[in-house]
């Protein structure tokens, strides 16, 4: 009796130990994502909304693509403006500050309306001049929305990057220059590798906030997740259920992103720090 008990507890211990390794953790995380997706699909059946599932997939994949595009675009542009703001000298750093402040200071809805309808605005001007107009399409509207979301995110990301760049001590820059590295070498070899590691927990904030900002694209007619929700409600009048399904999708996405960034942070952490 006692022996079987110790046996089972030691089995549990080995099991627990197994899942404490990298592969084990990743396996658990991916299994949990699949379980959550399973629950989501189960809810569709439970609510009797199966026939809207294909369009739901279209909607969430549009949301996902907007998110990934905006996150990467925002990363590249944000990093550029952060470096410009810290090391850019009098003119470039002011330009960067102005860009960041204008974007952070205006509602995303305003930004997306201005940018998504920019081709239409230009067309009015172009046709008045008798010039050929820009062909309007759903793809163009989608692209302009994605760029707008990317620009919006870049301003917030830039500030996270700026914080982490300035938190890497000036001593590191001095030491790099003292062995003869140029400024750009010092930034690339010494400052960025440290500040990009350090920024991850703060940056995870933006990465988990941005999916919800992409819903602004709904306003200019991009058929993302909320567009699906609104259309489905108009057929079924099941407001609560439909919006709960969309909310559940966001929980799955953001849980996964948070887990992923925590894992990346642990993996690239500098030993001893």
């Amino acid at each position: 009796m006692t022996s079987s008990k110790t046996q089972s507890s030691s089995f549990l211990q080995t099991l627990r130990k197994k899942f404490r390794t990298r592969v084990g953790k990743a396996f658990l995380a991916i299994v949990s994502v699949f379980v959550m997706i399973g629950i989501l699909m189960g809810l569709f059946v439970y609510y009797g909304l199966e026939r809207f599932f294909d369009e739901f997939l279209d909607g969430v994949s549009t949301t996902l693509s907007l998110y990934i595009f905006a996150l990467i675009f925002g990363f590249l542009v944000g990093l550029f403006f952060a470096i410009a703001r810290v090391y850019g000298g009098a003119i470039l750093s002011r330009v960067a500050t102005a860009y960041i402040e204008v974007i952070r200071g205006t509602p995303v809805v305003t930004q997306i309306i201005i940018l998504a309808y920019l081709p239409d605005t230009l067309n009015i001007f172009l046709s008045a001049q008798g010039l050929p107009t820009i062909p309007l399409s759903w793809e163009l509207r989608y692209l302009m929305s994605a760029v707008c979301l990317g620009m919006n995110s870049s301003a917030y990301q830039a500030e996270f990057f700026r914080g982490s760049i300035t938190s890497v001590s000036t001593g590191q820059m001095m030491a790099a220059q003292a062995i003869g590295m140029s400024r750009s070498q010092s930034i690339r070899q010494i400052i960025l590798p440290q500040s990009l590691r350090r920024v991850i927990p703060a940056w995870a904030n933006e990465a988990s906030y941005l999916p919800k900002v992409t819903t602004a694209a709904y306003i200019v007619g991009v058929t993302e997740a909320f567009h699906w929700a609104n259309a489905t409600v108009s057929y079924t009048f099941r407001t609560l259920e439909v919006y709960a399904l969309v909310a559940f999708f966001f929980i799955i996405l953001i849980t996964f992103v948070t887990w992923l960034l925590d894992t990346v942070y642990d993996e690239v952490k500098i030993p001893g720090l």
């Binding site: 003292a178 003869g180 070498q185 440290q194």
Partner: protein
């Protein structure tokens, strides 16, 4: 007489209204060890940062083997690669292992291959007796070990002169010895050194000349024998006792 490795000529430096250096001049010959000492705020560290132009002076000239660093269009990165610097707070690159801290200069600045740079770094770590910790990160090393890696990083560039900015003053007392020993070793190998320090034992053992600074000017200079026999200025005498 042989041409000096480093000449500092009438260097002036001020931060806003505050004048930190008011016309400092000295020269360092090949293989010489110069010790600069004086009370805090006397401009010693600023002087070192002026020499490798991390904080360019407002007036005066710095010459490395007869070439001016203050000349317009001077390739400062190249000059800095020939002027080593060891910092009070070590300033090791936190994201690199000890060996990579030492190898990155030869690799990225001198254009060595990865293998050549590693080899150079390894022999520099041998000089400071840190090969057994080559694959540790700075945060995993004690202060004394970090400073020895800092010295190796400077040595690996095979510079014309190495500047030491109070290399032991951020260390716990029991760790000072190992760093001073390494500095003695490299001084004996004929390394040209300019050392800002309060370690009078070190100054006495290896320096060719001691320079006493106060309020941005050189107050007194002479051999260690001169200073230890009884310095002329009362201020230097007091500093020597405190230091």
């Amino acid at each position: 007489m042989m041409e000096p490795v480093l000449e500092v000529f009438d260097v002036w430096k001020s931060f806003d209204e505050l004048e930190v250096l008011k016309g400092v001049s000295f020269e360092v010959a090949e293989g010489e060890v110069k010790v600069i000492f004086g009370p805090s705020g006397s401009g010693k560290s600023t002087l070192l940062r002026c020499i490798n132009m991390l904080d360019p002076p407002h007036q005066g000239d710095i010459l490395l083997r007869g070439e001016s660093l203050m000349k317009k269009g001077a390739d400062l990165n190249k000059f800095r690669s020939k002027i080593g610097m060891v910092f009070q707070n070590f300033n090791l690159f936190a994201h690199l292992k000890a060996i990579d801290n030492v190898a990155i200069g030869p690799r990225k600045v001198l254009g060595f291959t990865k293998e050549q740079a590693r080899e150079r770094a390894y022999s520099a770590l041998q000089l400071v007796k840190m090969t057994d910790r080559a694959h540790h990160y700075p945060a995993e090393l004690s202060g004394g070990q970090q400073q020895r890696v800092g010295i190796a990083r400077a040595m690996a560039m095979e510079p014309d002169v190495i500047l030491f900015d109070e290399p032991t003053s951020a260390l716990d007392p029991e760790l000072i010895g190992e760093v001073l020993q390494v500095m003695l070793d490299i001084a004996k190998r004929g390394t040209t050194m300019v050392v800002v320090t309060h370690e009078m034992g070190f100054a006495r053992a290896v320096s060719n000349e001691m320079i006493f600074m106060d309020e941005g000017v050189v107050v007194e200079r002479g051999t260690p024998q001169h200073f230890f026999a009884g310095a002329e200025s009362a201020r230097a005498r007091k500093e020597k006792e405190v230091g």
